[in-house]
């Protein structure tokens, strides 16, 4: 069986789950829930993107929200109607104030641009090992943020960029999340994905096996940057309004917690962590506004979401480094569980022979 068909088959269960979520929310049809589900799909796409890089290399990236921002601002600048742009960014450089493109070319250009920037930045980051690479990603996040907030002619600075055509709907979010899932899974199981994971397990042995470590890191970084760009485009074309703060520490922190909670080494872990935190933060959000539970009027608790995310990162790092799924995919866990059951059954049927060492 080819890699693609095998990956499709292995991804069937999570894809069905995502379709079920979208179907359920649409059948209820309440705008608030649709919005929550859409944002879930944006974050899921982003976490899959982050998984491609972090799961492959074993290095943390604090810079991925910047890719989301680059793609979001690209579509914003290209797609927003000219009349509005004359108001928002009348002095845009490169004649961009007079450019107005349709959705498809805007999205394609945004993805290509994000990919090119990711590649160039990746040339530097892929050569660094471990902590140095991680710090460089943080620097990248800050640099991009500084550019967004200070290049006022092009990005409007810290003020919101609004009026982007809201052409997207829940099915876009669903589609993007499924595409991101398939890319992440295909990459993980591909020969190069396996080589990259080998290098994160044992760098010296991987080099001794001819693994081109830097080139593969660059590949993973660029690919995950492009997928992250999809998440940025989803955001811009749904909300219609973006600001530099949408792509900074809060977002970085959120997707990092989601990935770490589920386990960064597997795509299933990414899905699992995003689901748990999305549900959890909806619950805490309602607590923040001080709801009435069983007749008791609870006080408003602002900042609870941030506290909750921080606590998750600390707890996972101290008690379950590899995340909820321990770095395994759903189907691998299922296979191991079946094997265990089978060997347990064999043992009892063979009238309990000598205990086998695991």
């Amino acid at each position: 069986m080819g890699l693609v068909s095998a990956t499709l088959l292995r991804s069937l269960a999570p894809i069905c789950l995502l379709i079920a979520i979208a179907g359920l929310v649409m059948s209820i049809g309440e705008p608030y829930q649709i919005r929550v589900a859409y944002i879930f799909f944006i974050n899921l796409t982003a976490v899959f993107a982050l998984q491609i890089y972090m799961g492959g290399t074993g290095h943390a990236s604090f810079g991925h929200a910047a890719f989301q921002g680059i793609a979001a601002y690209s579509v914003a600048i290209l797609m927003t109607p000219l009349a509005l742009k004359r108001l928002l960014i009348p002095d845009a450089p490169f004649g961009l104030a007079a450019v107005h493109l349709g959705a498809v070319p805007s999205i394609l250009i945004a993805l290509v641009l994000t990919g090119v920037i990711a590649y160039i930045v990746g040339l530097a980051i892929s050569r660094l090992g471990g902590v140095a690479a991680e710090i460089a990603t943080l620097a990248f996040l800050v640099i991009v943020h500084v550019i967004f907030t200070n290049w006022i002619e092009l990005f409007r600075g810290p003020r919101a960029f609004y009026g982007i055509p809201s052409i997207s709907n829940l099915y876009w979010g669903l589609g993007a999340a499924i595409i991101a899932l398939l890319i992440a899974k295909l990459f993980r199981d591909s020969p190069y994905g396996v080589q990259l994971r080998a290098a994160s397990d044992n760098l010296l042995a991987a080099r001794a096996m001819g693994v081109p470590v830097e080139r593969l890191r660059l590949l993973a970084w660029t690919l995950s940057g492009i997928v992250m760009g999809m998440a940025g485009i989803l955001l811009a074309t749904y909300l219609g309004t973006i600001a530099p703060s949408s792509f900074y520490f809060n977002q970085t922190f959120l997707i990092m917690a989601m990935l770490l909670l589920g386990g960064m080494r597997s795509v299933s872990g990414a899905l699992c962590g995003t689901l748990v935190i999305s549900i959890g933060s909806e619950l805490t959000r309602s607590l923040e506004s001080g709801p009435v539970i069983a007749g008791i009027d609870l006080p408003a608790m602002f900042g609870l979401t941030g506290f909750f995310l921080g606590a998750i990162i600390v707890l996972v790092m101290s008690f379950r480094r590899e995340g909820l799924l321990g770095g395994e995919e759903f189907e691998d866990l299922f296979r191991q569980w079946k094997l265990k059951r089978k060997s347990a059954a064999d043992e009892t049927s063979a009238d309990a022979p000598a205990k086998q060492e695991a």
């Binding site: 020969p191 396996v194 994971r197 044992n202 010296l204 001794a208 096996m209 001819g210 693994v211």
Partner: protein
């Protein structure tokens, strides 16, 4: 193949002016007491360390400018004394890592062995889908050999492949090494500090002590060498 190579750590030479050859299809033994510099020599050959002096070449082509992964692709494959399997990957994926390098970069693909053939040859078929970190010690050593073979090397370097094995297992290993040589047609350099094991497996032997080469020749010649008797056999006799 290796000419006048040296490496020192601080003021101490770990390997000093060592020259060594290994022909394709030959099994060469490298023996010496603890700290003799065997592993350091292997690191110099495989490109894990850069020498202070001397050169390494393969088939007349100098590899001095090539790093570890470039040499792996050029045809020098190795195992590690302290096991370094890719623990999170399955046994089969461990072999796949090397096979991918081989498929991508080797120009000549004459010795085309599939991943499954190589695993079968080393008795790893039943463990193919197990995670490498969960394999028993001996299987992990075999997995390292399988992985190195998937590069279709011209020279295979084995650093103490028999470490931790009992008499019976090391006899089986000797047979494996010989059939690997026959099947893959590669040269093999085997390190060990057990003289009996090295005598059985190799056709030619180099003896190292304190970073220097003190003797070389056929097993029979080396056994007669007064230096070897003094430094190595004498020491061994006093130890055991």
């Amino acid at each position: 193949m290796v000419d006048g190579i040296s490496k020192h750590f601080g003021g101490v030479y770990a390997v000093r002016d060592v020259s060594l050859t290994c022909a394709v299809g030959e099994i060469v033994g490298l023996i010496g007491p603890n700290g003799a510099g065997k592993t350091t020599l292997m690191n110099l050959i495989s490109g894990a360390l850069t020498p202070d002096e001397g050169s390494v070449s393969l088939g007349g082509v100098s590899l001095n400018q090539a790093g570890l992964s470039a040499r792996a692709i050029a045809g020098i494959a190795r195992t590690f004394q302290n096991i370094r399997v890719f623990g999170r990957l399955t046994a089969r994926q461990n072999v796949e890592v090397a096979h991918t390098s081989y498929l991508r970069d080797r120009a000549d693909k004459r010795r085309d062995h599939s991943i499954d053939e190589i695993m079968a040859m080393l008795g790893l078929t039943d463990d193919a889908q197990r995670k490498a970190s969960t394999l028993p010690y001996g299987q992990q050593r075999r997995l390292e050999i399988a992985r190195a073979l998937a590069l279709a090397p011209d020279i295979l370097l084995l650093d103490e492949p028999a470490a931790g094995m009992n008499e019976q297992e090391s006899l089986a290993l000797i047979e494996s090494v010989q059939s690997i040589r026959d099947e893959f047609g590669c040269g093999v350099i085997v390190i060990d500090h057990d003289l009996k094991f090295i005598m059985r497996v190799s056709e030619r032997i180099y003896v190292m002590n304190m970073g220097e080469l003190i003797a070389s020749g056929t097993p029979a010649e080396v056994r007669q060498d007064p230096h070897v008797i003094e430094v190595y056999l004498g020491k061994k006799a006093s130890v055991s």
